[in-house]
């Protein structure tokens, strides 16, 4: 039968790549919702042999709720509010972004192969996915002008970190470490609220001085 863990991770990779290439903000939000659900499902699939305590199960359900519904919902509102449909004039073009994505996965495979000695087996693909997601998120933050796309990039970075946490730690005594990644979602929420409340549409822009771009040396 199909290996659910791997399928989930491949879907995450797929969403990362699609997000690098998508021009429409709405599509981007939908992709992030998918990615959020998949990311929060991963720990459940990874540790299918372990018995979950009821607290952990509730926690993962909350994660799905936050990453899959709440944050994308807020993003959806923000996109509606700011009334931008697509990202024009990104710092790095879409073709180049996709190529960068390819480069990132190459690098993360390389890194993972070098780290293999000190890792529990079977977690390789999780680590590859995680590093790719994280690096792509960082790249997206740098390569796009719109405030909202930067927040999406941050969300991706955060998903990647969460994945790394689940891949690396075995939940022996560290059960309350990885889970605190959820607090990063608070930051995301605050940023989106900022966008919604203050109508920030562009950030770090050199061209349009009336918008965010006045402070520099």
């Amino acid at each position: 039968m199909i290996n659910l863990t791997e399928a989930t991770l491949v879907v995450i990779l797929l969403s990362v790549l699609l997000s690098l290439g998508s021009t429409r903000l709405m599509a981007l939000v939908q992709i992030m919702a998918l990615q959020g659900v998949m990311v929060s499902l991963t720990p459940l699939l990874l540790k299918h042999n372990e018995a979950f305590s009821s607290g952990a199960i509730i926690f993962y359900q909350v994660m799905i709720l936050i990453k899959g519904i709440l944050i994308p919902g807020l993003l959806y509102l923000a996109v509606k509010r700011v009334a931008i449909k697509r990202e024009i004039e990104p710092f790095v073009g879409y073709h180049a972004s996709i190529l960068v994505g390819l480069g990132l996965i190459l690098v993360s495979v390389f890194i993972t192969n070098n780290l293999r000695l000190s890792l529990a087996s079977g977690n390789d693909i999780v680590l590859i996915t995680a590093i790719t997601t994280m690096a792509s998120g960082l790249f997206l933050m740098m390569a796009r002008r719109k405030a909202i796309t930067q927040v999406i990039g941050y969300l991706m970075l955060e998903n990647g970190i969460y994945l790394i946490g689940t891949a690396l730690t075995n939940h022996t005594h560290t059960i309350y470490v990885v889970e605190f990644g959820v607090l990063l979602d608070v930051l995301v929420g605050v940023m989106i609220m900022g966008i919604i409340l203050h109508n920030i549409s562009r950030a770090f822009d050199d061209v349009d001085t009336t918008l965010l771009g006045r402070l520099k040396d």
Binding site: I2, E6, V10, V11
Partner: protein
Amino acid sequence: METYLSLAIAILAAPLFPGIILKVKAFFAGKKGPPLLIKYYILAKLLRKGSVYSTSTSFVFQLGPIVSFATALIVLLFFPLAGANPLLSFHGDVIVLFYLLGIGRFFTVVAALDTASPFEGMGAAREVFFSCIAEITVFAVLVVFYRLTGSLSFAEYFSGDNSISLMSDKGALLLLVIVSMFMVLLTENSRVPVDDPATHLELTMIHEVMILDHSGPDLALIELGAFYKLFFYSSFIANLIYPLSSLSGFSSWALFLGLLVLVYAAIGLTESIMARFKMNLVPQFILTSFALVFFASILTMGVFQ
């Protein structure tokens, strides 16, 4: 026997499936839509008519439809439909087949250029450009398959005991391949969002504009060739989703047809919910499909060794 039977069914049933696309689109538009057998009616109507040839065209123009139909048909001969052994097979046939499809396209393009119509030249240029890029994806897919099975023949990919599919142990990777093959399918068969088969403006057409000057039986051959090509790509994806060779006889055919309907419905769905891209976005779309396969091929080297 099974081989001949499946081939016959495929050849006869291929024009049925585009009807499903139309039905799905009609459903989304809130219409009743044309009957399922509409494509058969059209073919019958076209075959009854005569052909008109412009005096400025040469034999190349008449050759185009025949070659494109023939190549599409040959490809089906090599393809293991519903897990049955294909009629013909040899080592390396996948490469030959994809280039046979290329030859078919070449003759369509040459025929279009032969008419000396500016619109047709434009369509031909676009067609060649896009399928050039799509070829990268196709060959990246073949690289992945080669890494997974070590062979270069459809028969070994999709029939026999260790056929590749989503359900095999390295199957998760094929998720990427399926998505990108679907994107290639849309590109190669001139579907939305790359091309719109229903458009009425020559300027915006890609494939349709090239066959504007064909009529009667010639047009029927081209259409039929297109149906076979679409059928080939769809069965490709259907085989990737489930290993049909593990089943036998009737059940494999039932599942195969079911999956085909699924793929065609997905095409219809895509056409219903998406608008076609601006021309400059199409290369990016195809590039994305390549990137997905490239991801898969990196993963075959890094992890799934």
